[in-house]
Homo-oligomer: 640 residues x 2
Amino acid sequence: MKTQETLNIKAVTIRDGFWSPVQQLVMETVIPYQYDVMDDKVEGMDKSHAIENFRVAAGKAEGEFRGMVFQDSDLAKWLEAAAYALALKEDAALEEKADGLIALIEQAQEPDGYLNTYFTLKEPGHKWQNLAECHELYCAGHMMEAAVAYRQATGKDRFLSVMRKNADLICARFGTGEGQVRGVPGHQEVELGLLRMYEATGEKRYLDTALYFINERGRTPEVLSGEIKNRGWFHWSREQEPSYNQRHLPVREQKDAAGHSVRAVYMVTAMAELAALTEDRELADACGNLWRSIVDRRMYITGGVGSTVHGEAFSSDYELPNDLAYAETCASIGMAFFARRMLELCPKGEYADILEKELYNGILSGMQMDGKRFFYVNPLETVPNVSGVLPEYRHALPRRPEWYGCACCPPNLARLIASLGQYAWGESEKGIYAHIYLGGQARFSKAGGITVDCESGYPWKGDVRYTVRPKNENVSFFFAVHIPGWCGRWMVTVNGKEEKTIPRDGYAYIDRIWRNGDVVDVHLEMEPVRMYANANVRAAAGCVALTRGPVVYCFEETDNGGGLAALRLPRGSALVCKPGSIANSGVYLIETEGVRIPSTNSLYSAGLPEGEPVTLRAVPYYAWSNRQSGGMRVWMVEGS
Amino acid sequence: MKTQETLNIKAVTIRDGFWSPVQQLVMETVIPYQYDVMDDKVEGMDKSHAIENFRVAAGKAEGEFRGMVFQDSDLAKWLEAAAYALALKEDAALEEKADGLIALIEQAQEPDGYLNTYFTLKEPGHKWQNLAECHELYCAGHMMEAAVAYRQATGKDRFLSVMRKNADLICARFGTGEGQVRGVPGHQEVELGLLRMYEATGEKRYLDTALYFINERGRTPEVLSGEIKNRGWFHWSREQEPSYNQRHLPVREQKDAAGHSVRAVYMVTAMAELAALTEDRELADACGNLWRSIVDRRMYITGGVGSTVHGEAFSSDYELPNDLAYAETCASIGMAFFARRMLELCPKGEYADILEKELYNGILSGMQMDGKRFFYVNPLETVPNVSGVLPEYRHALPRRPEWYGCACCPPNLARLIASLGQYAWGESEKGIYAHIYLGGQARFSKAGGITVDCESGYPWKGDVRYTVRPKNENVSFFFAVHIPGWCGRWMVTVNGKEEKTIPRDGYAYIDRIWRNGDVVDVHLEMEPVRMYANANVRAAAGCVALTRGPVVYCFEETDNGGGLAALRLPRGSALVCKPGSIANSGVYLIETEGVRIPSTNSLYSAGLPEGEPVTLRAVPYYAWSNRQSGGMRVWMVEGS
């Protein structure tokens, strides 16, 4: 049922005007800085202890475990990001650091394959007893993902061997077979790790156990509650709602995205991958239902998901408050994972649309443009002295905070951005896919080998050029190029001649006999657009948002003055696109004539004061809070 | 500095088309029901134990204290409401019940005058040690208010004598004199009680101690913190922010209304009364500052104050979320107290405007129209499956709950409504005032005695007739009638002839020689009005609210269908006023032509779907949630 594979990271080279500088930032700033954080080398920051925990567990240092119960996962995500960075560019010093950590991990592993420094050091008698709260399987999943990435990037087997021992232990322990324990992870992730392990090793038990964890979840809602009741000890001391970790229903019966958003999107990602690998139509349908729930009813225009801080969770349909939003960066990253796996199941443009939306908005907004500060929470409106200050808005910071001692979003961002090549291209039995526009080169194995070069000024310019180079002469295959859903008028030419292709499911299929050097040009009309939310979204009622191409815009106080709620964007005023710069990075701005309603002395009055004309300027949402701090809003009141 | 006195409850008779039925409801339903609640006679309700605590403390029953630390205040508020009810109408059975409670109170009082069943029964060793949390002074204040009201209503002294002993104990204990303890109440109220005691007895030490508590607050911010630190035992176990109980600054330096809203408005009420009684200009100015802070920047259009559930507190300027609103009924009641005392300081129309706003909106909305259920929290927007359901909205119930075992708002509402006569009229050296329109009769002592009869169809009709009957012939005084701030066109006639009076500070002063039977007619043009919030109020940006006279309107799902956020009220559409009925009570509705934006399949789209014409119907806010449950909103998106 898997219709195509996205490409291995080694098969893609990226030379993209937009993304290459971001990758460079990740390689030169984020990954080295995170290592120093994990190694407690950053002055003035709470000690992470993430590496020290492994040193202690490995017998290389004296001390005790410190940090969160899932502190090991920081190391894992860093190693995964480092692996992708090494795949992008050789770096002996980085590889040495990574090898050093891997050696520590090997030494910290217990003889039976168990690997978790929290339990090894702090509560050795409590292993596997608190799946609900204690993240052993979560950390293991991240380690597995890292091990597979590291093998792919470097060809080295050591880390993978360590994680095989660990995966074997987990597969032996959990399941419905004789002597096995029934259980599900409190935080989904090991399913993804096991699927990576299956991909790397072909061991079917890894696939089976991933499927077991998915099928078991919610089938017996008591599986974690019972554990909690019988255990007699607590880590966090209170039980979450079953929906918090998606165990309120069997996963195949879940129609609404619910609970902790990162858990939910990691789960559906694994479900989509399993549906493809096991040709499980029911599971694919369940993924489709949850996709619809998220994309049609529970997602911000920026791609943010999980609209409430309470449980960092999905809320009700259409409940998308701008100022209270949680919209965790990691949840948007998980949505990119989900979209990638949905694309593999079925190449529909809407999956690529959401992938693109997440990359250019909800994900990228997580990182300051110097790579030094990170948003976990991505609100769509901030207000001075309110956001980050008043109790209900304390999570919705107006400025990216510095790295925390325990970090989830920054390393997650690092691994996603460093592995971007895996998301851009696909290969099926009969053809090749360009899911998102990414400058550089992709190397396909199809038809004896095909190289496609891509030049693109995306997301600022709508012209994309592909040069197709099959190794063999006169081979026939289709080249399917995603036509973004945001684009109303577009044209595809092949060697300069218009291709009257009818797009199917959001892709223009160019099916022909290809010659070396054939040129496919895609021309997308890219103008600023007024976007409106569904009438059920009360937080956007009467408001308009601006987009251009895949980029969502916002209005910042630094451009528009304070009191953004007093501004009105008239329905008819022309939207003018202008090149500009934020934090030394080129962007396109949108300017338009609007009005500002003057403030009066009285709080309420009969009659609205006449608005004063003002020029409104919008900047890309991902670039917000990179200049002077102040209010921000994505949804602007329409009116005059 | 006190410019006038509002009238004693016995000097006013109420025969008002609007308020008399509400008072009847309070007398026939609310007060008897509350007695049964306090006496644990209501099936299926958590036991209040409020009376039983006194029985046990009086040695009349065996048992222990149960309920909140301020459970005694329920009894006090009930007795105060009962007193006002007895002033309105003789009722031997009610008086017998009240006398019974008063006897219990007397017997529960300790020999030194101490009166608090919680400490007497449960923690006798901890008296007066936890002013921050434990409400001894709060309960005492309510008991004093009740005792004075009961003496005014019945002429009986017993309760007052009990409370004199208690007040003497408090005055002896707290202050800056030798052997006295410095301290301030954690919840302001005793200041008001002591002022009532001063009014009833003329004992200056009651005035002095009330002033001491006001002056002491915030002067030494550590007064409660130090107590907490030294005490070594806790009741609620964590210290609140100093602003929670307004001890962050000396009260005279406070410019912004802050912290727990009921505490704040009780405090400023006492401050205003003290400023008048002691001719303290600085204190009056402080009241003025806090009035401006509330009325100009921190009040809902309904009169609701305290916009956040966190600490049931005032929030920042212009932070007035509709759906998250706290806007406690008791805080609106406190605003009526504050407005009354500000009127006594200075007869400005804006004080009467707010008094009127509170009565017809924020206060009255607290009670279901059958007198059986009560809102503590008065949101301006409710959404099905969100309000009262999602974690951040759990406090904002869409339907009035039944009485709680421990109730603050219902008895507070009862005592306010039963004593309404005290708010309507004023008497100064040179004249008399009508602050709000209240049908019935007021009896003034001025000029040898004046009776004024008032007939009014208010708030539905703008015609009010006063018949002035001085006892003596040809006496000269002014009659000042409040001209509401909402009214743009009005006329006053005397004996049918237009009075070309120029209003001063919101009052039409008719200064003449009066004859028995002179008729003053006030004609107010009363049309539906579109109201707009200050441009800084982001929760009302792009929205319009409807009012008519003093009544604020809202849109309910039961009239307008679900999905109220999809409705738009065009700026130009005519507002039509129609008589109607809610819960068998006559009201005026407002109808207008609006549009409904249809819901689309997609969550976001370029271009807004064409709106479909619909008739919008608005009903008085105070009457919301008296029919089928469903969404509600006060602020409607303006647009087409």
